[in-house]
């Protein structure tokens, strides 16, 4: 076992059924662009949020989401609209 698994290695261990409609939505992109801390970009255990400096916007890989909800609570501006994935979609742990 490699002691330093990457997040990509880790996400490969989880079963997903992707949800066509994103369950995560940024309410106001302008707020993210002006956010000093961008807590979501490091607090997420699945690296869902990444700041794209070329496009000057926040990339949201909702399909990797583990549905923990930490981003919603950590966002200083309450700028993440966090909904439940639709029935049967999203993650399905095999052990939990």
């Amino acid at each position: 076992m490699s002691p330093k698994m990457t997040i990509t290695d880790r996400l490969f261990t989880i079963r997903y059924k992707s949800d066509d409609a994103p369950h995560l939505k940024i309410k106001d992109e302008w707020l993210c662009a002006n956010c000093e801390t961008q807590n979501c970009t490091y607090i997420c255990p699945a690296n869902v949020y990444e700041w794209n400096s070329a496009q000057f916007k926040l990339n949201v890989s909702h399909e990797n989401c583990l549905e923990c909800g930490t981003c919603r609570i950590a966002c200083l501006h309450s700028n993440i609209e966090w909904k439940y994935t639709l029935g049967g979609r999203g993650i399905a742990y095999r052990y939990g």
Binding site: K17, C68, T70, Y84, I91, A92, Y93, Y95, G96
Partner: protein
């Protein structure tokens, strides 16, 4: 689906499963909603389940073939971690075998098993279905809107057991969004390892198990606790840290886990293992003061959705099951009276107050304040490091007289606390916080 039920249970975790089982056993018409592919699909915990509260629901469950038991715990250890050191206390006892006290489990197995009991008893399982919102009539909750076509369900009472994020609980307004200092984030790995290796490394025989909780240097100056539990042929390794501390430190949770795995004590126990699953979940950490009103007109709230976790003793699923059971008791009474008002369902709040659940949370009600008052780096970094340095000094034989060593060791701990007075204050406040 425009049938009317006695109760709609939202969420087939331990709280929802327990409520559904008790209600159907009493002859009530129950629908059990679950948004995951199956009960447990979205659920994560460290891994310890307690016999007593499960037995209250399913007598002698451990005798069943296929009971969701990994290993029966005969030893619990607590490790205080330094950078490459660790000071340990623990308790091992053959008496924990009969009756079994607690055991390790996996949520996907356990939640399916418990929900399965409710379904066997007659609850209607409606899985892969998300509850979108509550349906109100005046000031009463009368049903749940789901994401199915024509998916409005109606009932006399809705049991909200939708977990830590509890979007339905928030829509009630009984609790608003949790604050970062009311929740922790746990990242966990399930690491497969041959059972002989587990038994050798943890000094176990057959289906005996051991648990380890660790705190200190491993949480990198944040308030938090790690765990390492033995399953049949895997280990559950994880660490939870307060979300406010994660924000403050700016550390990625999986990097924290990487660092835990490199601690020499842990590295040697997991080496050769293969990570089968990575998982993340929040834990309620607010304690007594964060628990909302538990019932109202046509609704009850239970489990994580109501912050029912005793974080000092890492108990959660048992509190959830007890809350589901007591909510069911109140609903059964309400059904007899034909009255599902806040006043009647308030019986649930009253029973909870009298149960070990609220009594235990009350005992530790000062802990949250204590953690707020003290910088996490003192309790979770400086003090554990000083304890390890002091232990190292006391155990090292280097020609320095013991009396002098003892002075040095005591000084290390006093200095870490910022002086004798501060250490005494901390001890006093600490004692009070666990005896509220």
């Amino acid at each position: 689906m425009t049938e009317t039920f006695d109760a709609i249970i939202v969420g087939a975790g331990p709280a929802g499963g327990a409520a559904a089982l008790k209600l159907t056993q009493a002859g009530l018409k129950v629908v059990l909603l679950e948004r995951g592919e199956f009960p447990g699909a979205k659920n994560v915990f460290g891994g310890v389940l307690y016999r007593k509260q499960i037995e209250d629901l399913v007598p002698e469950f451990w005798k069943e073939k296929g009971a969701p038991i990994e290993r029966s715990i005969i030893e619990q250890r607590i490790w205080m971690m330094g950078k490459e050191s660790c000071t340990t206390i623990g308790h091992r006892n053959e008496a924990f075998k009969e009756p079994m006290n607690c055991f390790t489990g996996l949520r996907v197995k356990f939640d399916q098993w418990l929900a399965g009991k409710a379904v066997e008893a007659g609850a209607l399982p409606v899985y892969e279905t998300t509850a979108l919102e509550l349906i109100w009539k005046g000031d009463r909750v009368v049903g749940v809107r789901t994401d199915r076509e024509d998916g409005d369900l109606y009932a006399n009472v809705v049991v909200i057991a939708d977990g830590i994020n509890s979007l339905l609980g928030k829509s009630l307004g009984v609790h608003t969004e949790w604050k970062p200092d009311e929740v922790s984030l746990v990242v966990k790995e399930m690491i497969a390892l041959p059972r002989e290796k587990i038994e050798d490394r943890f000094n176990l025989e057959g289906d005996e198990g051991a648990t380890v909780e660790f705190m200190g240097e491993t949480s990198l100056g944040m308030a938090g606790m790690g765990f390492l539990y033995t399953n049949k042929d895997s280990l559950s390794l994880g660490i939870g840290v307060m979300v406010n501390d994660l924000i403050r430190k700016g550390i990625k949770p999986y990097e924290l886990l990487n660092s835990v795995k490199q601690h020499p004590t842990i590295r040697k126990l997991i080496q050769g293992g293969e990570v089968k699953e990575y998982a993340a979940h929040m834990i309620p950490e607010g304690g007594y003061h964060s628990v909302p009103a538990l019932s109202g007109n046509g609704w009850c709230i239970a489990g994580d959705a109501a912050q029912l976790v005793n974080f000092v003793h890492r108990e959660g699923t048992n509190l959830a099951m007890k809350s589901g059971e007591l909510a069911a008791a109140a609903i059964i009474e309400a059904k007899k009276r034909g009255d599902f008002s806040a006043e009647t369902l308030g019986e649930y709040d009253r029973r909870m107050k009298e149960s070990f659940v609220m009594k235990d949370l009350k005992k530790y009600k000062g802990m949250h304040h204590l953690m707020k008052k003290y910088d996490s780096s003192l309790l979770f970094d400086k003090l554990p490091q000083a304890v390890n340095a002091a232990a190292y000094t006391m155990y090292s034989v280097d020609g320095i007289p013991k009396a002098e060593k003892q002075k040095q060791a005591v000084r290390m701990i006093i200095d870490a606390a910022g002086g004798t007075l501060n250490l005494l204050k901390l001890g006093h406040k600490g004692w009070r916080s666990i005896n509220g």
